[in-house]
Amino acid sequence: MTEQRTRRASARVPNGPVIIFLILVTIGLFAAMTQLFVGLYQNQNAVAWSVREDAMWAAFQADREAARLIEALRVAQREPTEGNISQVALRFDLLYSRALILEQDSYAIKFNGSSPVAEASAAAYASIVLLDPIIAQTSAGPDPFLTQIGTLIVLAVATQQATGNLVLAANSALNEARVNERNEIGRINARLALGAILIALLFVLIVVLQSFQLNQIRRSRREIERLSERNALNAQRAEAASLAKSMFLATMSHEIRTPLNGIIGTAELMNDADLTLSQAENLAMIRKSGEILLDVITDILDFSKMEAGKISYQREPFALRTVMEEVSAIMSQRAKATGLTLDLDVPTMTLTTDPARLRQILVNLVGNAIKFTSSGGITVKAWLATPTLLRVEVSDTGIGISEQGINNLFQDFSQVDGSASRRFSGTGLGLAICKRILEGLDGQIGVRSVEGMGSTFWFDLPVTDAATFTGDEPTVQTRPTTMPLSELPSARLRGRVLVAEDNDINRKVAVGLLTRLGITVITAVNGAEAVAMAANEQIDLILMDFQMPVTNGLEATRQIRAMGLNIPIVGLTANAFIDDRDQCIAAGMDEFLPKPVTREKLWKTLKRFCPVDVPREDVIQSIDKVQFDVLIEDLGPEVVAELLVSYLSDTEALFAEIETAMTHADRAALDRALHTLKGVSQTVGLSHLAAEVQALRQIEAPNSKDLIEIKGLAATGLAMLSNVLNQTPTTPFLLDQTYLTKTA
């Protein structure tokens, strides 16, 4: 193919210039021929002029007149009458008029200045002129005529000889001129013929070359057509391939998510089992890795869905603050874990755009900010730049981005640099996804950053119906909505929940997690079974998987609703998409839970539907598990158990001391006792108790009611600590039940 093309190209090169050259040559030839024609025409004119008076004719006439003069002379000699003599004079006049013509310059020109003719002409003229004075003498009468007649005849005969010579010379000169002229005409004709032949040849050549060129043009047009067809086909194939790739990615992501849900769920279940600290750490690692993997897959799934054009935008009115706080709720836990603050600066307003996409962008940007910030904090600021444009800025105090990094920041699969990608995991798709979403919503995204000084990612999102409220909604600072995992064991839910899930592992995980939360669980392995059980059993809530054999989740939900049952139904799916959410709401579900199912998600969702058994809110937060775990790690469970025993006895003594000090209003003693209590409580991890005791120290006159409260805190806290200790695979620490009864 390449060779062919090269050959064609080399054949193509000279055509154009050659044709132009040929055309120029043709024009040149035309000009030359035109000149020839002009020359010919002028020549013709000159010839015409020259033949106006046939020179030959003039010579002949002169000769004839000479002969007639001689004749007249002889007649007059025989009969010298006046009439005959005057006839001689007339004949001479006629001859003389001929002589004058011979003498004219134009006559010489007619013979091209031929010297024999000129000589003969001059001789004839001279001879005629010689006659003139004698003729003049004869006009007097017959006598003078007769005396001169002899001379006259001699001279006339000489004149006729001269004119005869002139005729011969003129004739030969004329012949020569004719030959020359014929030759000249022949030459001109030959030149014209040559020119005509050349022009004809050139025309033929031009026509041939042009037909060549035409052919080439036709061929290259065909080639271009073929190429464009091939390109179109290639583009089609590429598009198809890209679509297939996206579909494959979407499918794969889904297929990967299912077992991953199993891994994360199982890890969660194991978290409740008796584990050594290193096992717990390993488990945390598994869980964390699973979550990262899940994030990655979610990103890819999102991106491939966008690539496949399977994304839709749903604009609806919503409260900006609500969305922002949801994001904050999701992200603050992660921020806190890294020791970062997450602040919102958002006006109270409602507006119309796609809240789900806004949430997605914010989660991405805040997640990035957390990932690349080691200390300091993240601030999310939002305001209306114009009545129809929402400006949001996510600022961090992180590592920042170099100028070059900014340039390829928003490209697909791009990470700022190799070293950063080594330090920070991720697909590099987050910002590309944000950019695509914003493009889809006619928005813009950008970043300002100084390397090492932090970055500010901003985006402009077109909105409609923006309305700001002042006062209606209180401005709330960030509030954690996610409950720390460590505090969950104390919370219990009540209820009977049906789990409809075909996947064995996922079903077991769900059952396990629900059981941990205090839920009674029954199961179904497909939609039809779930419908049957919903009809026949006493169920408080159904967890319904989307994709199940026999009857899928959506269909089952429709059937359950059709039966008039309004049991809360929560959809479960690995496809965390808006479409799915819409589908499940449309089918009659109450809520939607993206997989993997974690205890945290279950807690958050189910507590809205099931009654919660919590001892007391403050108790949940009363122990510092980290501190306690450190203790167990450092000292070993046995020593910690002893520590708790000694804490028990110590606090009993301290409570007694505090009571006495209160009774005697001994502030110094009271403060000393409270200080000691605070110290020992902190040591064992009863942070809430320590804080309460510290607060009590600030009060002017603490009373017995306060004492009872801190006793209660100590009791519950200690119970929880013993619970934790009991989960370690060592000698169980048995809390002295009498302590609880005493303090309560």
């Binding site: 015409a48 106006r52 003389y96």
Partner: protein, 167 residues
């Protein structure tokens, strides 16, 4: 000269009718004889003209090149049509005979289409026989390029002595 002027004055005073009735007799040497289909004569079947009679006819000056003269001389003499009117010519062709018996036919139409003159003078000088006189048919060659060819050159007879009007 005075005679010429008187003759011209007579022509003007008497008008065409007087001439048409009859031609005066030539007083000087006859230089031109018209014969053939003519109605006005002054001899038996012919009309004889001397120079004065010719100069009395409506005339014209023609400045032109010719193949037989240097430069562009001015020829003058009676218009061909005037001469034909003077003799009441009724024919389509003029057969012209020169002193040397050269004969050429000129269509009468030529005289109507072009202001052809029978020149008697060149540059104001009367033409002698030696100088192609006394009469020379002059077409306005320089005025009409279509005339510059052998056909009209051939009709330009000189040393004319007789004109015969024929069909």
């Amino acid at each position: 000269m005075i005679r010429h002027i008187i003759a011209a004055a007579c022509t003007l005073l008497l008008g065409h009718g007087a001439l048409a009735a009859d031609l005066p007799q030539p007083e000087g040497a006859v230089i031109l004889t018209l014969i053939g289909q003519i109605s006005n004569t002054n001899a038996e079947g012919s009309a004889n003209f001397d120079l004065a009679m010719l100069n009395a006819l409506p005339a014209r000056e023609t400045r032109t090149q010719t193949p037989w003269h240097e430069g562009e001389p001015v020829f003058s003499g009676p218009l061909g049509t005037a001469l034909l009117d003077a003799v009441g010519a009724e024919g389509s062709t003029l057969r012209i005979t020169a002193l040397n018996d050269y004969v050429v036919d000129i269509p009468v139409d030529d005289l109507r289409r072009f202001p052809v003159i029978f020149a008697t003078h060149i540059d104001g000088v009367a033409m002698s026989v030696r100088n192609k006189g006394p009469l020379f048919v002059i077409y306005p060659f320089s005025e009409d390029p279509a005339l510059s060819n052998e056909l009209y050159f051939g009709r330009s007879a000189w040393q004319i002595r007789q004109i015969e009007v024929i069909d």
